[in-house]
Symmetry: C2
Subunit: 337 residues, 2 copies
DNA sequence: CGGTGAAATGTTAGCGCTCACAATGAGCCA
DNA sequence: TGGCTCATTGTGAGCGCTAACATTTCACCG
């Protein structure tokens, strides 16, 4: 038995059957111009030889890579990894492969490098999931030869972007608290160079504004439970706050922890609402009332947009996709004032 | 200004400078056989024209793709996404790109399809992060033209695999409980077709065996907080259990929740230990004692192994990498019996 | 000042595939 | 029978690059 040389080519398959390489190509590309019997024999030969089409050669001649690039910040966090998973699934569905570049730190320069890297792989579109606004702007400013789709950190003016309506989600969360009779709601914010953090904060303000109420104190957070814990310690020591809106569930968990540590009884002494509906949210103590986002739909839409942009070339911009609306999930961590 | 045609090729750059395309190639490949001044001019031209090397053409002629494939199950879970992130970073470090295929459901057939997909992308190695053992076996049985590296679900006999010593981690966790004076420790297991689940269970048994103690009751779980919650309800209703080892942190969180719901006081009435050291573990109530794994090192090692295997070709198998040893993180959820 | 070897550059031939077009053959009608 | 059409298959070129080899340039020596 001869050692397995380099993998067989179309020519090998063709020779094996006694047809031309073009006929093999036709079979592969499902051309109707092949006699069923011939097709049969070619397919048989491909199986026997273990033929696998050479994607590089194909990409070279067609000038298309069938590849989408995704740069994802904070792949280890819940939201981003959900988005990555859904983009991957959606892309595969429509015959695209995906190249992933994770970011260890997010900044204009790291995002630029990541995008460059994807371009070197000849991706047909770049999806950026990095809510950090300066980084997004940097990517936008790059004058790319392919469409760039935003999957996070979207702002109203953005084109070629899919996102979740953070303001609406936050407004619903805070509104819920206010409707429960709380006169003011404190906010532990996310890092304010993230679009999401700004928007959730905006929703918090809006909910108060709509009811002619003064928003409660605002504390800084960083998406993490640690940040939430620190903020919670401050809050527990503080004054008359009866309700808190945390920028995300991790923050809310830290908050809960700090309040317990301070000996408060929840939710009677203090109501807490989070954002994300992470898998653990239903199992905090007390169970977290939060805002659920449909990440999987995000991925699908982003891929759809990318495809549309690829097809459309430099044509008219694709129809803008409305923001997805998240919904409130009421559990036990928020109670009547 | 002419519309941007298809992107410039080496020939374009060469013509622009007045050299041959081969000289451009030499510059690109850092050959020392280029006069510094020539190199300078070529680089200048590349910048001006926005030249970008065509990776397909390069892959075609070199017969190498500089691409690693990774199939990852449960990308949305904490561990897997951490692994994916670290593999990605490590691969990039050594000049490889990574193609990701996420699995929505894990089974022999879905894994096979995923691997096929990666092979069609001409990856130079496949990393499989899918602890589900039957799926792993299926991938192993495929007789691939490229190395396959296991990143999860590793068992002692496995070759070309990196993993974390789950048995040791579990033994440490349960040993900690036993050393605290508990006479027996209950276990809420993971799904037992996952190697990790089996191994953690084995560590639980081993810790008892070493001390000549009878293991406490065993309950079924599924890695999720929901599963832990169900098990916790049973446990709370039950007999004389004073300590529980949960298969992972999510399970432990569900457990904690159920015990609180049952009105128990933790950790006095019942001690709980988890596994994973997820970011939230420090902020449960009480803070979770758990086992920390260094995922990032996992990715690095996996990529290292893959590279070694790619280089080595069919040569002698690479030196086996010892399992990483996780360590116990003591917090508040486990107390003296 | 011709010869020499190393440094620098050029030339040519594909890699495996798709595209455009050419060629073959069978069926059919006048 | 000749010619026409359609279905099927074949041929040739070339995508952008690298590898192997060929050629030119040039500093330096006897």
């Amino acid at each position: 038995m001869p050692a397995r040389r380099s993998s067989p080519s179309m020519a090998d398959v063709a020779a094996h059957v006694g047809v031309s390489h073009q006929t093999v190509s036709r079979v592969l590309n499902k051309s109707p111009l092949v006699r069923p019997e011939t097709r049969e024999r070619v397919e048989q030969a491909m199986k026997e030889l273990g033929y696998r089409r050479n994607s590089a050669a194909r990409a070279l001649v067609t000038n298309r890579s069938a590849r989408l690039g995704m740069v994802s910040a904070h792949l280890a966090l819940h939201g981003p990894s959900r988005i990555a998973a859904s983009v991957d699934a959606a892309a595969r569905e429509v015959g695209y492969d995906v190249s992933l570049v994770g970011l260890e730190t997010v900044s204009p320069s790291t995002v630029r490098v990541a995008v460059e890297r994807l371009l070197d792989q000849a991706v047909e579109a770049v999806l950026v999931a990095a809510a950090h606004r300066p980084a997004i702007e940097a990517a936008r400013a790059m004058d790319l030869p392919v469409p760039l789709v935003l999957v996070q950190g979207v702002e109203p003016g953005d084109h070629l972007a899919v996102g979740i309506d953070q303001v609406a989600g936050a407004r619903a969360a805070v509104g819920h608290l206010l409707d429960l009779g709380h006169r003011r709601v404190a906010h532990v914010a996310g890092p304010l160079d993230w679009a999401e953090a700004v928007q959730r904060r905006e929703g918090w303000l809006a909910a108060h504004r709509e009811r002619d109420l003064e928003p409660g104190p605002e504390l800084a957070g960083d998406w993490s439970a640690a940040g939430g814990h620190a903020a919670g310690a401050l809050l527990a020591a503080g004054d008359d706050v009866t309700a808190v809106f945390a920028a995300n569930d991790a923050t809310a968990m830290g908050l809960l922890k700090a309040l317990h540590d301070a000996g408060l009884s929840l939710p009677d002494d203090l109501s807490v609402v989070g954002f994300d509906d992470s898998p653990e949210a239903a199992y905090t103590w007390p169970a977290l009332t939060t805002v659920a986002q449909r990440f999987s739909e995000l991925g699908e839409r982003a891929v759809g947009l990318a495809l549309q942009a690829i097809e459309g070339g430099t044509g008219r911009p694709p129809t803008p996709v409305p923001l997805l609306v998240p919904h409130l999930v009421v559990r036990d961590s928020a109670a009547r004032a």
